[in-house]
Symmetry: C2
Subunit: 248 residues, 2 copies
Amino acid sequence: MPVLYASRNLTECGDCPIRHRAVCAHCEKDELAELDAIKYYRSFEAGQVLVWSGDHMDFVASVVSGVATLSQVMEDGRTQTVGMLFPSDFVGRPGRDRAPYNVVATTDLVMCCFRKKPFEELMARTHNIGVRLLEMTLDELDAAREWMLLLGRKTAREKIASLLVIIAQRDASLKMCVPKGKVVFDLPLTREAMADYLGLTLETVSRQISALRREGLVSLEGKRHVTVPDFDRLQEVSGDDADGGFLA
Amino acid sequence: MPVLYASRNLTECGDCPIRHRAVCAHCEKDELAELDAIKYYRSFEAGQVLVWSGDHMDFVASVVSGVATLSQVMEDGRTQTVGMLFPSDFVGRPGRDRAPYNVVATTDLVMCCFRKKPFEELMARTHNIGVRLLEMTLDELDAAREWMLLLGRKTAREKIASLLVIIAQRDASLKMCVPKGKVVFDLPLTREAMADYLGLTLETVSRQISALRREGLVSLEGKRHVTVPDFDRLQEVSGDDADGGFLA
DNA sequence: TCGCGACCTTGATCCAAATCAAAGAACGGA
DNA sequence: TCCGTTCTTTGATTTGGATCAAGGTCGCGA
């Protein structure tokens, strides 16, 4: 997993209110102007479903603030979250019509959307945007495969630690820094959403968090505010190589 | 999962000895000539490791014949296969230096390789190749996320059925048809390789295959040659929607 | 302020799959 | 042909996480 999202993915985008992992990272000035012309903002409340699996999707978008998840649901209701969208992340599939997953806001959420047709036209004319999109898609593929290792082979304890590490890293990257030593952040997910992402039940998530707390690896204030006194130690529990950064 | 790879992915590629899901699907004649100029073939034996995770990779490639897997390994040896490469599949990451996974031949294997530098230069000049690559990467992302659902939420029985369905589909697509009714194919994987892909142990794989056999859902001749008398019934056991084809 | 609903925690029990163990195929090489 | 190796099957036992069940906490609207 790339450790430093900051250097690669966070860039200014037109007049967007955040520095974000933008489709326009390498774009020229006039391309940015074109992107600005087809963009608009949308807000959602925590729990709201932005897109249902199978829906026609007529936009692509970046997350401005908040967190959303991508999830698959089986006929009998079993649910697996297959991705999390943090601020700066991109969602949408140029050239494809329908959404393959549910997209759900897990916190209040603001998206910067681009109408799909004009976006595709711009992409066809603009080499840079295609290159950037391929980069982002490869990043997501890496993340998905990393998660396959977690789902297939890690213990519940390692899964929880891994999730906390990921959230801490994404949170830190928004502040343009790398988590180290003592780290503090908020969980943007309910226990149930965590369970859906980790392939566990919510009871197991709760129990394992309690266990990590008992051992002093994390401490909680309320249900959501997390303090990690020693980030390295948590990372060891997660079962990942100390430094998987060769991908970057 | 796309059901019909055939129509979308299998195309002629220069003088390659197979019709394959090629990077050059939409290319012009002179682009094909350039691809031909930088390609070469390599053969591997079953069990051979083509690339180690972290290695420098100076080529990208398509599978001509045989099957390979992509796998991640934890420090303590736990292994998760994160992808299978069938004939026509592409492997390699333009713009990235190092391999993030082990690539292992599970059968005897022939690859059609392209040297990476010239491939990237060609890609920079050729819009079509970038578009095709993005398409293929999105397909792989879909497959990875489908597999996340399998790893996180399916039972051992459903996992085995899903794997058999996938292999049957890929095998059928090479023959330019869709599996239906009675289907026959060879398993290109040992029980252990299946276990690594499904997040199970090899004993559980063996037991579940025996169970499916006892129920008449499949029959085996030797260890590897599989006959599925009723493909639809197997697909039901796999837990997938009857028709997940909306992605296509 | 109370009451309700949404989340979370913890305990008791169960079960699917892992682990440990042993014994068959299948196959290639001496 | 026999032996050794690799792969596979099956059995016995254990166990991590699921399931079932009961309270606890928090925040919000009446």
